[in-house]
Amino acid sequence: MKLTRDQRSIIKSPLDGKTFLSGPAGCGKTTAGVGRLRALLTSGLPADSVLILTPQRTLQAPYERVLRGPETGPGGTVTLATVGGLARRMCDLFWPLAAEAAGFAHPGQPPVFLTLETAQYYMARIVRPLLDDGFFESVTIDRNRLYSQILDNLNKAAAVGFPHTEIGPRLDSAWYGDPAQRRVYADAQECATRFRQYCLEHNLLDFSLQLDIFWNLLWRAPECRGYLTRQYRHLIYDNVEEDIPVAHDFVMDWLREFQSALIIFDEDAGYRRFLGADPESALRLADLCETHAELTESFVASPEIQSLEIAFTEKILPRSPTPPLPLSSSLNALAFPPSETPTRFYPQMLDWVAGEIQRLTAEENVPPSEIVVLAPYLSDTLRFSLTNRLEERGIPWRSHRPSRSLRDEPASHCLLTLAALAHPGWNVRPAKFDAAYALLFAIDGMDLVRAQLLAEIVYRQRDFRLSTFDEIRPEVQERITFVFGQRYDRLRAWIEAYRQQPAPDPLDHFLRRLFGEALSQKGFGFHRNPDAARTAASLVESIQKFRVAMEPALADFRSLGDFGSLEIGKEYLAMLQDGVIAAQYVEAWQMEETDAVLLAPAHTFLMMNRPAKIQFWLDAGSGGWWERLFQPLTQPYVLSRAWTQREPGTLWTDADEVAANQQTLARLVTGLLRRCGERVYLGLSDLGESGFEQRGPLLKAIWKMQMENRNTDEQA
């Protein structure tokens, strides 16, 4: 790749200097960072002295590509990390140091690190009984969202750097609406406190505790600090604007000990504010770097897109006096459904989008990978509707996240129903309906009517009894057919034999056996179904991970009598069903598909940090481009570091909310356009997905531009 002079000078800067590089998206900052990494690697210094930090793992992709290439030199490997990841590693390495100081009840025993899912699991265990005691009575909220918001509060306290006991009081002091809400904040605080206490008692470390311990204890301990400062001599820290204040504090503290550093700051970004990102805090790093570099020229956006960005920003955040704008040229970069295309209803808009993508790929030869379809929220329903249309037109697509949850997979449904049937001890009684579906899927060639007929006769929910095919009346046997009857009997015999085992296998082992010994055999549903086999493998893997994370802790709890006779398999089942465990997985073909149209929520696309020639913005009228998701238990602004600098007792008012929303929208639009090469297609329908007329601020900004353009035309 050809580099500019500015980029080259950044890359070639001395090995003992620190550079703060800033500029808007799309002007080659990360390219310079990657070049710098190459330069470090080829300079002869040991690779393992290089640390690359990003706020999120997805942002490491460009650096990973280099490390997989031939440049990797001698001397170990470069470390790619997030501050959170580093914190976890240090907690693990220096556990004895931290355990006692942090107040863990069993410092002699190893720690258990919680993932987001396992943390939710424990939170659920703690909060559920409190709900019965009347906690959170005044909010109607999905339970999983409740748990995740309490965890989010803990994480924000750790990320911003205030004691977790201040969450409730902070939220409370900024609230000015209905007094009933105050009770909710107090409840949220109580749950957070109990969770933290519980973690300390059971050696559990969630993200917030890892970060807390690392920053407040380990980093201050010479052993840990010395280990890190000796190990790493060169730093590349990209997308600092998306990182949390405590991460900035930490790097600031460390920076002078590095030999060289390149800090990269994306202007006008900060898309992860809701997760604690703090661009203002990141700017503090600039003061500690002797060299300040700036890249300003976009490699991505066409001149029309660039003027569109200016026009948009003007409409969203008007500054006076408005500079004259070449609106017509910027509007050229915006495409609308033509007036003759019916777009009153949402699916009509999707038809237009799919048709337009087809036209672009077929007639304009745009590669599918250069097309992204973005929406403020991407519901499963929307995704299915759109991908169906793309598939009908033979257009490859991929999605921002693993597209399916194991919960939704017929194959995993079948396996887990059979697992429940094989473990009467769990006391999970599958409904007849589920038993029928399991038979429908498990027995090759089975149809819905016969599966139901069979299940209704042979399965007794009350005591898990599975009777044999022989016991059925002959005329019904005939209806079900003897072929299916035999297959059922084989499956039944396998389950019965398993039930006779003295002790149950761990669930993942059980499923491996069920699959290997029965379901993958001829006559069964997984025999000729590679997709189902893959799902089974993913399920087994997910359960195994869950078991590994939970087992040490659970063994301990059992001894403490906390959880009684707790079965990991049964717990997994319950958690999966409740949605506490999302257990999403990537379908193999999807990972392989690179030249494909990408579907993603707009914010997720921004965090992928990649450009695309063509962007489709769906639901342009939705308020979702603008307003924060209403989270009754938390508040990203009040729990930010900037808020702590306000007068105590400052209220979060309607005006604050509006201003913050406008900033968010402006940032989002800017970010998207800086990642757009040629054109933005607006997916507009009179009525939105839910049937209401939508006119959010993004749409109004678009209208304003159209109006202005029209007026200019008329005047001309």
Binding site: V139, D142, P318, Q348, S385, D408, L448, L687, Q706
Partner: protein
Amino acid sequence: MTDFTPRPAQSQILAYTGGKMGISAVPGSGKTHTLSALAAQVIRSGALADEQEVLIVTLVNSAVDNFSARIKEFLALPMPFGYRVRTLHGLAHDIVREKPSAAGLEDRFSIIDEREADFIRKEAANAWLQSHASNLNDYLLTDMDEGKRDWVRRQQLPDLVTNIAMAFIRSAKDNRLTPDKIRNLLDRSPAPLPLAAMGLEIYTDYQRALTYRGAVDFDDLIRLALDLLEHDTEFLERLRYRWPYILEDEAQDSSKLQEDILRLLAGPGGNWVRVGDPNQAIFETFTTASPQHLIDFVHEEGVQYRELPDSGRCQPSIISLANQLIEWVNREHPESEARDALTVPYIQATAPDDPQPNPPDNPDGVRLIGKKYAPEEEVEAVAKSVAKWLPEHQDSTVAILVPRNQRGVEVIEALKKRGIPFVELLGSTSSTRLASGRLGDVLACLADPQSAAKLSKAYLAWRRGGEEEAADGELHRQASGLLRKCAEVETFTAPHPGHEWLADIGSGDVPAEIVAELEEFQRIVRRWQGTTLLPIDQMILTLAQDLFTAPHDLALAHKLALVLRQAADDHSEWRLPELTGELGVIARNERRFLGFSEDDSGFDPSRHAGKVVVTTMHKAKGLEWDRVYLMSANNYDFPSAQPNDRYISERWFIRDGLNLEAETLAQLEALGTSSEFEWYAEGQATGQARLGYVRERLRLLYVGITRAKKELVITWNTGRTGEQTPAIPLVALQGWWEENKK
């Protein structure tokens, strides 16, 4: 911009630049058009900043579309820039949706509609009756024997109590009284108020049921919007800035809360134009809606008053008849307290050079039939008349207007018998419900795949598209009949050698075309069965591809998929049968807003020339036909507060002719007063309710008459008991007409 040459009265309104204005408009005076022109004018004048809008508030969804379309035409803009048209409920939804948290709601709060509300009320009312079996004894007629009393308790009281509950809850919400507040008042009440106590218990149950569902009803939505505006002054200021002009249509039906919300939004010196016709206020019973709000408004200090008296709709004879009704009511109505039911301005015909001139005068077009019909004879006579008229007037429009749905059903039966083409507009059908009903039939079949009856229903859902029988109805009827008899469904859906139902019937005497039809359905139903393992949203979207082609149906399916997916996520134990049940509930909840129903785009009579539209007088508001029949103009449907009048709300089994709904509301009202002179006295409210009803029915008659452009036929009947007499206003009009015609 479209050509619009305003009449002088319209020009006066278009001269509006700001402040408060109240306008009295007669039927057909072009108020929607004028208001749309005014909105367009404000927008074009440059008075609005970019983020500001003219807010137009109207009564029903069909009017929303109508307004939007006209303003769009005036402005010749591709997008609705600078204005927003909403029903009051739509506006309340917009307001609450912006700050659900402040209203104590979650992001995805749901709204239940009248049907669901009615269901909950019924449950609550029945529960109350179960546990308070004897509480209403004191109100029953004393001379009934025990057997009859018992029958009344079982057969009559549930409906009555449900109706009372509806009136009570609505009124409580209109007055912003929560169950708690009422309980406090009741505890302090100096005398027992048993009806209010009953209302309170049912209201409490009802609210609990809503909370359990995480839902609000339409009345709550309005109440919450008002609460928000009152408590969050910054938010109110923001909305005031956003909507510097408020134009309100159909203001005669404005409720107290609607007025409060708009008054707050307009602010003290704000710009608020209210248009209405007090003579067309026909939605008032047991609500706080009243034409008096509008009448009082125009008398407020600083309010400019205008009239829109010219109407090009009716031919002059019909205009005189309508004006005569006003005059007669004002001067001669036998009940002096009802004389304010109708008010001037009189309707004036348009000037000869008007772009919308009145149809030529034709006194023969007005026929007030004095003949005494039994109810079924009246239906027959009207059917016969329309059968004779229709063939010669294929390009004209005609409607039969009845006071009540049930009467409409009888008319339709008579039309069907004579093979007269008709369009039913009675509120019992809606394309939304048709579509979700079809989807529901297919889901029910998949939830219970062994049922031949459900398979047969699913077949019809697929084939008939929910329409009335089409030309190939016979084929479909036969095919579905055969399916219903398929004893072992699997031999049809997944045949095995030797068990092939289709082959069996094919070798019998079933015609080949039916076998072919069933083969096609077999393929379809197999595909459907394949979807049962998918998540519910994907299942619905896949089924919808086979069931629907109309865009609004597909859009509805998308929405249902979205909402059912949410329901399935919230209730992981739910399977197809539960989700099928939920589909019914959800489908009913979405109708009050702009949405997926074709009906919402408004009913256009001109699209149904050559067919007879059968509808109620209430539903006919805002519509017009060349020829109109008004039925049942007797003293039961149009009473005049005379001793022999009977009232629909006074049940025969209640003592002293008490109207228990009215008495209950009076008890509720008494709770709010401290004056002993305003304290509850039994029977007073019944009398007041009679008067209210008399007034409203006079306005309904006026609305009915003014629907007719060229011809009007009014008939009456003697009622079920044979005792009813012609309505006094009808008799008065007849006398005047005969006199005048001479």
